[in-house]
Amino acid sequence: MRILTKLEESVLLTILKLKNNAYIVSIKDQLERFTSKNMSFGALYVALNRLIKYGYLESHIGESSSLRGGRAKKYYKLTKNGVFALKDIRQQQNLMWKGFENLADELLEGQ
C-alpha cells in the first residue's frame, strides 16, 4: 500500500463526501472548511493529478453549463482502489488510536 500524505488523504475524503459535485473549486472550498488551512490551487491540482496516477481517482469532463460561460468542469470520483485505500487508512488509524482515551486520562490524572 502506498503511504498517502495527510493532504492526499483529506482530498480523497472530501471527494467522497462531495459525491457527484467534486470539481476543483468545490473540493478546495470544502477542504478549507474542514481544515481551516489555506492551500493554493496549484498544490491541490498537483495532489489531484498524483492521486489519478496512483489509480485512486478518476476524472470525467462534465456537461457545459451557462454558469461558467459555457465551459465544462472536470469532475473527480474515487475508484475502488481509492475507497480501499481510505479503508486501509481508517483501519490503521483505529489500531493506532485504540485505547487512547484511557491512556491519555491516566497520564493527565497522574500529573
Partner: protein, 874 residues
C-alpha cells in the same frame, strides 16, 4: 454574463498557460477564475486581487517542481544517455569539462578573493557605527592627496563634547618598539598605544584579562596570542614585565586573540594611553602633549550610539578645525565609515596600504570574462556536435517527445556537466589555494560546507553556467524536424547556417577576449620593465640601506662610520633623512619674490658626500664642501624642477632659506632625479646639509659595498652595528626597496599573466574541438575535392582560412578595447611607455600562432585522409 472586470489579471493567466501542458491547464485556470469571481463579489476588488496574486505565487513553483519530478522515469533515461554520450565522445566531453573546470576554478578563486576584500572590518560588532576621523589639509598636498588619517590628540575630547551622538572615541598611536623579555629581544613594528575605549569600539576579544580594566593603568600592555607564544612559549604571560626601548617596563594585563587578516590595521601589542604622559613629558615643550593641536600623530576612531541617526550625523561633516583651536587654519575634519576604509584607496599616513574598489571591479570583470569564455566553449561544442545526435532527437520526437521534453533533456545534460565541473573545480580550488594565497599575499580560507552562503552561491553559479551554456544547444537541438531527420535530409540549411553564425560569433568573442588580455599583459609587462630599467638619475646598485631607529646609533655615528670605512669592501657611508628614491617630507621655503601661496619643497638633508655617493650630477654650480664651513647652514642645492618653478635664469648665488635663522644661497643645481615613484612628476626639491638641529630627523644609513663577498661584508656590518646598538640589525638593498614601490603593479602584472594564460587555454581548447568537428563533417567534401585534384596543402589552407577569419575579426575587435583600457591604466604613471604597435603585433603573433597550431593538427588529418575511405558507401 461576464464583464471584462470580472476576469483575473491577464499576466497571471498567461503565466499559468505557459507553465501547464496543453489541455490539462484549462481546468485549473478556470477553477482559479471561478473562485476569483466569487472573491470579487464577496470581498471587493482589492482583496480579490490579493488573494489571486497569493495563490498564483504559491501555485507556480509547485507546478514547476511537479513538472520535473513527474518525469522521473525519463530522468533516468536522460541520465543514462548523457553518461553514454560522455563516454562515447571522450575528446569532446574532456574538452567541455576541462573548459568548464578551468573557468570555474578561476572564478571561484577570484570570488573568494573578492569576498575576502569586501569582508574587511565587518567582523566588528559595531562595524556600521564606527568611523575614522580624517583631516583634510588643503595647503599640504602630499603624493597628490590632501587627506590625512592623523589628527592631534585634543581632537578626541573636542568631538566628544560637541557631538552627543558619539558614544566612544579612541586614539591610536603607532610606533616601533624594541621589546625585551629575558633577553628575548625583537624590534616590533606593530606596537599601538591606545585609549581604553579602543576595546569597546572594536571587537578584539581577550582570551585572558579583563577588557574593562586592562588598559586603564599607565604601562599596561596587551599582546596577541601569537606574540605571547613568541616571547613566553608555554609560560602564562599575565603579570609579566616587558621592557620597551630599554627604558620602560610594561606589565602584561591581558592576551588578545590574533587579529583577523581582513582588518585594515593589524597590531601585535596594545599599550595603555596613559603611559604616554610620562614618556612624552621628557621632550614635549610647553604643557602636556594631550593639549597640543599641532601634534598630528594619532589616529582617531569614533563609535556612535545605537540610537543615533547615522545619516544625520554624516551630514554634519566636514567641520572646520578652526572651531576648536585658537589659530586660523584651513584644515577640515571629515569622517569615513570603518567599512569603507579598506576599499576606499589610500589617504596619507595609512597604517597599512589599502586596496581599491577598482581592483575588486577589475577582478570581477576578469572572472566574468573567463566564465563567459568557458560557457561559449560549451555552447559551441554542443551545437557543433549536434549533427551526431540528430538521430536520437528524431527518434525521441517520433516516439512522442515534445519540444519541452527535449529542452529539459539537453538543459539537464548541461547542468550535469556544470555540476561535474563544479565538483572537480572545488577539488582544484582546494589544491591551488595555498599557491593562490602566496600569489596575492592574503590568507583566504575555503570551507565550502562550513559556509552556507558560499555553498549556495557556488550551486547558484553552476546552475547559471549550466543554464547559460545549455540554453542555445537545447533550443537548437530540439528544433529539428523529425521528418527531415528520418528522411536523412539532415537539418535544414537555414538552421545550420543560423547555428554556425552564432558559433562563429562566439569564437570571435572568445578570441577578442583572449587578445585583449594578451595585449594588456604585454603592455603591463613593458611598463614594469620600463620602470625597473629607467635611469632614475642616481646609482642604486650595491647600496645597502639600514634604518636608523636608535638614538645610540646617532650618538655614535662618528666612530661607527670610522670603523666601517676601515674595511676595504665598504666603499662609502652616508646618512640622510630620506633615501633619494622617496623623499617624503616637505617644508615651507623662502626666496626673493616668493608668492604668498607658494608651494612647499621636498627636503633632503644629507652629508657632504651624499651627491657623490649616489652619483647625482650637478647641472650648474658646485657641490657641498667640507672646507667651506658656512655650507652647513647656508648652502642649498635645488633640482631643475625647483629652479623652473621659481623661474630663475641663473640660480647660483640667489638668496634661499629653508626654515633656518640665517639666510643662505643656492650653490648648485642638480639634474632632475626621480625622488618619488614614477607615478608622479618630479617635484621641486631642495638639498641641504645636516646640522646638529636636524640630526633627530636622520632615518637612513646608506652604505655602498663592493660587489664581491657580499655576505661577508653584511656579516661585518652587523657586527659593527651590534657594537653600538642593542637593536637587531636589519638592512635592505636599495634596488629592492625601489622595487617595492611598484609592488601593486607587479602583482597586477603577475595575476594578469596567469589569467590570460587560462583564457587563451580555454579558447584554444574550444577551437580545437570545433576544428576537429567541422573538418570531420566535411570529409565528403574533402574527398571530392581530392579526387578532382586538390592537393593536401590547398585543402589545409581552405579549411584553415575559415578559422583564421574568425580569429582575425576577434583580434581586430580587441585592438581598440585594449588600447583604451591600457591608456587609462598608464595614466596612473607620470612616466610611462608609449603603447606603440609592438604589443599589438606581439599579441597577433601569439594568438595566430596558437590558434593555427591548434587547428592545424585537425585540419591536416582531415586533408590527408584517403578519399576512398570518405567517399565509399556501405
Amino acid at each position: 454574463m461576464r464583464t471584462n472586470k470580472a476576469r483575473p489579471p491577464r499576466l497571471g493567466q498567461w503565466l499559468l498557460k505557459k507553465i501547464l501542458p496543453s489541455e490539462e491547464r484549462r481546468f485549473l485556470i478556470e477553477g482559479i477564475e471561478e473562485r476569483y469571481v466569487r472573491e470579487l463579489k464577496d470581498r471587493g476588488r482589492i482583496s480579490a486581487l490579493f488573494w489571486y496574486l497569493k495563490d498564483i505565487f504559491r501555485t507556480i513553483p509547485i507546478l514547476i517542481i511537479d513538472d520535473f519530478l513527474g518525469s522521473t522515469i525519463l530522468l533516468k533515461n536522460y541520465l543514462k544517455i548523457a553518461l553514454r554520450n560522455i563516454k562515447r565522445h571522450k575528446t569532446f566531453s574532456f574538452i567541455n569539462i576541462t573548459g568548464l573546470v578551468v573557468g570555474m576554478t578561476c572564478s571561484i578563486l577570484i570570488m573568494l578573493f573578492i569576498q575576502y576584500e569586501i569582508s574587511h572590518d565587518r567582523y566588528h560588532e559595531n562595524a556600521d557605527r564606527i568611523y575614522r576621523i580624517l583631516i583634510r589639509q588643503p595647503t599640504d598636498i602630499y603624493q597628490g592627496i590632501d587627506m590625512y588619517s592623523i589628527s592631534p590628540p585634543p581632537l578626541k575630547a573636542a568631538l566628544m563634547n560637541d557631538f552627543p551622538e558619539i558614544q566612544n572615541a579612541a586614539r591610536i598611536l603607532r610606533t616601533e618598539g624594541l621589546i625585551n623579555y629575558k633577553n628575548n629581544r625583537y624590534l616590533e613594528s606593530r606596537f599601538f598605544t591606545v585609549d581604553p575605549e579602543f576595546l569597546k569600539i572594536f571587537t578584539f576579544p581577550l582570551t585572558a584579562g579583563d577588557p574593562e580594566t586592562a588598559l586603564n593603568e599607565p604601562f599596561s600592555i596587551l599582546l596577541t596570542e601569537e606574540m605571547a607564544e613568541k616571547y613566553f612559549g608555554n609560560e602564562d604571560p599575565i603579570g609579566k614585565i616587558l621592557t620597551i626601548d630599554n627604558t620602560y617596563d610594561y606589565q602584561i594585563t591581558g592576551v588578545l586573540r590574533n587579529i583577523p587578516g581582513n582588518s585594515h590595521f593589524k597590531f601585535d601589542f596594545l599599550g595603555s594611553f596613559s603611559s604616554l604622559y610620562p614618556i612624552f613629558s621628557k621632550w614635549h615643550r610647553g604643557g602636556s602633549f594631550s593639549e597640543d593641536w599641532d601634534m598630528y600623530s594619532f589616529k582617531t576612531y569614533i563609535q556612535l550610539h545605537r540610537s543615533s541617526d547615522t545619516g544625520e550625523f554624516n551630514s554634519k561633516f566636514p567641520v572646520r578645525l578652526e572651531k576648536y583651536r585658537n589659530r586660523p587654519t584651513n584644515d577640515e575634519i571629515y569622517i569615513q565609515p570603518l567599512t569603507h576604509i579598506h576599499l576606499g584607496g589610500n589617504v596619507n599616513d595609512e597604517i597599512e596600504a589599502n586596496s581599491d574598489i577598482r581592483y575588486v571591479y577589475f577582478f570581477s570583470a576578469i572572472a566574468l570574462l573567463i566564465m563567459l569564455v568557458a560557457c561559449f566553449n560549451y555552447m559551441n561544442l554542443s551545437t557543433a556536435s549536434a549533427v551526431q545526435r540528430m538521430k536520437e532527437v528524431g527518434i525521441r520526437k517520433v516516439a512522442g517527445a515534445s519540444r519541452r521534453n527535449l529542452i529539459h533533456q539537453f538543459l539537464g545534460e548541461s547542468l550535469l556537466f556544470a555540476f561535474m565541473a563544479l565538483f572537480f573545480s572545488l577539488w582544484l580550488v582546494k589544491l591551488l589555494l595555498p599557491a593562490f594565497n602566496s600569489l596575492i599575499e592574503k590568507e583566504l580560507s575555503f570551507q565550502v560546507f562550513n559556509n552556507i552562503k558560499i555553498f549556495l552561491s557556488l550551486l547558484g553559479i553552476s546552475v547559471l553556467v549550466g543554464m547559460l551554456s545549455g540554453s542555445y544547444p537545447a533550443l537548437f537541438l530540439s528544433s529539428f524536424l523529425p521528418v527531415n531527420i528520418i528522411k536523412g535530409k539532415l537539418i535544414s540549411r537555414k538552421s545550420l547556417n543560423k547555428s554556425s553564425g552564432l558559433r562563429n560569433t562566439l569564437v570571435v568573442a572568445q578570441f577578442a577576449i583572449s587578445t585583449v588580455l594578451v595585449i594588456c599583459t604585454i603592455i603591463i609587462f613593458n611598463q614594469l620593465q620600463y620602470i625597473r630599467t629607467k635611469e632614475l638619475g642616481f646609482k642604486k646598485e650595491y647600496v645597502v640601506t639600514v634604518p636608523m631607529q636608535d638614538e645610540n646609533l646617532k650618538k655614535n655615528y662618528g666612530p661607527l662610520k670610522h670603523e666601517l670605512n676601515q674595511y676595504s669592501k665598504i666603499v662609502d657611508v652616508t646618512v640622510s633623512n630620506f633615501l633619494p628614491f622617496s623623499v617624503e617630507n616637505s617644508q615651507a621655503v623662502d626666496w626673493d619674490g616668493r608668492p604668498e601661496d607658494g608651494p612647499d619643497f621636498r627636503c633632503l638633508c644629507v652629508e657632504p658626500n651624499f651627491l657623490d655617493f649616489y652619483g647625482i650630477e650637478l647641472a650648474e654650480g658646485r657641490n657641498f664642501s667640507k672646507e667651506i664651513l658656512t655650507d652647513v647652514e647656508q648652502a642649498y642645492i635645488l633640482n631643475e624642477s625647483a629652479v623652473r618653478l621659481i623661474g630663475w635664469e641663473d640660480a647660483i648665488g640667489k638668496r634661499f632659506n629653508c626654515q633656518r635663522n640665517v639666510d643662505g644661497q643656492v650653490v648648485g643645481v642638480v639634474y632632475n632625479f626621480h625622488c618619488h615613484s614614477l607615478h608622479r612628476q618630479i617635484e621641486p626639491l631642495v638639498i641641504f646639509l645636516l646640522d646638529d638641529s636636524l640630526w633627530w630627523d636622520v632615518r637612513y644609513f646608506s652604505i655602498k659595498i663592493n660587489s664581491e663577498d657580499i655576505f661577508e661584508t653584511l656579516a661585518l656590518m652587523e657586527e659593527k652595528f651590534k657594537k653600538f646598538s642593542p637593536y637587531p640589525f636589519s638592512y635592505s638593498f636599495l634596488d629592492e626597496r625601489i622595487d617595492m614601490l611598484y609592488r601593486r603593479e607587479q602583482k597586477l602584472g603577475q595575476n594578469f599573466e596567469y589569467f590570460t594564460f587560462v583564457a587563451i587555454f580555454i579558447a584554444c581548447l574550444g577551437l580545437f574541438g570545433i576544428a576537429s568537428l567541422t573538418s570531420g563533417q566535411r570529409t565528403k567534401e574533402i574527398g571530392i575535392r581530392k579526387t578532382l585534384g586538390a592537393s593536401v596543402s590547398s585543402i589545409s589552407v581552405l579549411l584553415t582560412k575559415e578559422f583564421m577569419k574568425l580569429t582575425s575579426i576577434g583580434i581586430i575587435i580587441a585592438f581598440p578595447v585594449s588600447y583604451f583600457a591600457m591608456h587609462q591604466w598608464l595614466n596612473n604613471f607620470a612616466y610611462r611607455v608609449d603603447i606603440g604597435w609592438i604589443p599589438f603585433i606581439g599579441a597577433v603573433l601569439i594568438i595566430v600562432l596558437l590558434s593555427l597550431g591548434t587547428v592545424f593538427s585537425q585540419v591536416f588529418k582531415a586533408a590527408r585522409a584517403n578519399p576512398v575511405d570518405s567517399l565509399r558507401y556501405e
